[in-house]
Amino acid sequence: MTELLVPITIFVLAILVGFEVISKVPATLHTPLMSGANSIHGIVLVGGMLIAADATEIVGYTLAFVAMVFGATNVVGGYVVTDRMLLMFKKKPTAPKAEAKA
């Protein structure tokens, strides 16, 4: 249990940071937000790499391979599609004004 205290602390604090950051996102951007958050959990790709490295038999190799495919689809597809959406929000005629202010 003791060795879990630090990870649990990280987990709780990260949830609070998440609440804080995300509650400020306007409704206009909720779809890109969800899609972007979706790409972030593609970080399980890292988990896929770790299990691929430790696998020694056919079951392990298979599970790791499928995890890699799933994780990579999630990460690459997620970021690209989010970018496509956000590009549409940027090319508005009003966008240059907003940028000039910022």
Partner: protein, 477 residues
């Protein structure tokens, strides 16, 4: 400082980039850079992990290299192709699909790690807990998101599907998963002495019940509740990734998973509030799913007044304030371009045009905004419900295109399926025009009292045709 310390710090920097990336999402002007920053963090975290694996004692075997490279290439190619080719109307099902594979990957990571530890002499109690949670949540998300995606795509019926015994079955599956979890924890604690084979079998039973649970959980949920379901499943995947992080003792996975879990949780709450329904209520029973809720509220058949496109065009041109209320029907008919054309035409004639966006318009949170942005509608004219509602009192013409239940004044009275749902105050406008193919009902399955309002004129047409007729009629004036 060793290489593994550097790898850790690089992964931490990646996690920090995720947080900052989400922070930049708070304005349309910075959002794209935020997403790019987040992607950069991801590349850094993945590259650092690879460096860590290569430089560790023993390095990477040829087989591991092959799996990592081939798996990544196939997945990245598939993801890239889908992301490039998806239509914006199909965005909810794609996000749902990406969510499914993310949940599936998290489950696989947890399962494989458990099997590996099992052969190494057994998992500790804490590892077992997180493995089972990661595997179960990941599996529920995987099958649930696939069903949600199928419903949105129309492969699976969008109507609530309830078969005899589906509710008890869902409960039984949950009980099986919980009992299985308890068995594995007792095994890890040494109270039970299962062999590694028996433990793997129990894990298999948990996985199977979680997969079926995901299906039976989403099947009874109707299309109108999809924004809530997608948000909830997104939150689940984040949690599953965090659990995988606990299993692998990897902080970057824990942080990222927690961020996504929080984000999905907030959106789920917002969507549920926008329909005045609890999350439990949505999961347990769909709109209009039995229970004799249909009818009874309206009091007789609604008498509607039909209008012609020419009449509406005159009304619109001589108005000073027009509010367009787009709903999912507009997206289905691919009418967002016709909608923008009409708005621009009216603006060129000095009419002030705004859009009223209900939080649950579309099939995922914020979906309508994306669809209108795609049609080049400037985002400052898209107004959220609380901002636009007072303006309906000053509005000359409210043009409702493809929205239904979110405009039903019946929501202000108790005793019907939409009671208490926050609605757009369309009935406060001086005049109302509804473009709709027929007098058909929305997802709530009740008549819309707005259509019987003496101020309301019905333009019976498909959203795209109706808007096209209006554009032509306005041009002809």
């Amino acid at each position: 400082m060793t290489i593994s310390d550097l790898v850790y710090l690089a992964q931490l920097a990646g996690a920090a980039a995720f947080v900052l990336g989400l922070h930049y999402m708070n304005s349309p002007a910075t959002a794209r850079n935020g997403n790019l920053l987040s992607a950069g963090g991801m590349i850094l975290a993945v590259a650092a992990t690879l460096v860590g694996l290569v430089t560790r004692p023993g390095g990477l075997s040829t087989a591991s290299w092959a799996i990592i490279i081939a798996g990544f290439a196939i997945g990245a190619g598939a993801g890239l192709w889908m992301a490039r080719n998806v239509k914006m109307t199909a965005m909810p099902q794609l996000v749902s699909l990406f969510n499914a594979v993310g949940g599936g990957a998290a489950a696989l990571v947890a399962i494989q790690d458990y099997l590996r530890i099992g052969t190494d002499g057994g998992a500790s109690v804490s590892t077992s807990v997180f493995v089972v949670l990661g595997a179960a949540i990941g599996c529920v998300t995987f099958s649930g998101s696939l069903i949600a995606s199928g419903k949105l795509q129309g492969v699976v019926s969008g109507k609530p599907i309830i078969f005899p015994g589906s509710r008890p079955l869902t409960v039984v599956l949950a009980v099986v998963a919980v009992v299985g979890t308890a068995v594995l924890i007792l095994d890890a604690a040494g109270t039970l002495a299962l062999g590694s084979g028996a433990a793997a079998l129990v894990l298999g039973v948990i996985i199977a019940s979680a997969l079926v649970f995901g299906i039976t959980m989403v099947l009874p949920i109707g299309g109108a509740d999809m924004p809530v379901v997608i948000s909830l499943l997104n939150s689940f995947t984040g949690t599953a990734a965090a659990m995988a992080g606990f299993v692998l003792n990897n902080p970057v996975l824990i942080i990222s998973g927690a961020l996504v879990g929080a984000s999905g949780g907030i959106l789920t709450k917002l969507m549920a509030d926008a329909m005045n329904r609890s999350i439990i209520n949505i999961i347990v029973g769909g709109f209009g799913g039995g229970e004799g809720t249909v009818g009874s509220a309206g009091g007789g058949t609604t008498q509607a007044r039909g209008v012609s496109a020419d009449d509406v065009a005159i009304q619109l041109v001589y108005a000073s304030n027009v509010i367009i209320v787009p709903g999912y029907g507009l997206a289905v008919a691919q009418a967002q371009y016709a909608c923008r054309e009409l708005a621009e035409l009216l603006e060129s004639k000095g009419v002030d045009v705004k859009y009223a966006i209900h939080p649950v318009a579309g099939r995922m949170p914020g979906h309508m905004n994306v669809l209108l942005a795609e049609a080049n509608v400037p985002y400052p004219s898209l107004k959220e419900m609380d901002d636009i509602n007072p303006e309906f009192d000053r509005c000359d013409v409210a043009l409702v295109v493809g929205a239904n239940d979110v405009t039903n004044p019946a929501a202000r009275r108790p005793g019907n399926p939409v009671s208490g749902m926050p609605i757009l105050n369309v009935d406060h406008a001086k005049s109302i025009v509804v473009i709709k193919r027929s007098m058909g009902r929305g997802y709530a399955g009740i008549d819309n009292e707005l259509y019987g309002n003496p101020k309301t004129g019905m333009l019976f047409a498909d959203a795209k045709d109706g808007l096209g007729q209006l554009v032509a009629a306005v041009k002809a004036l």
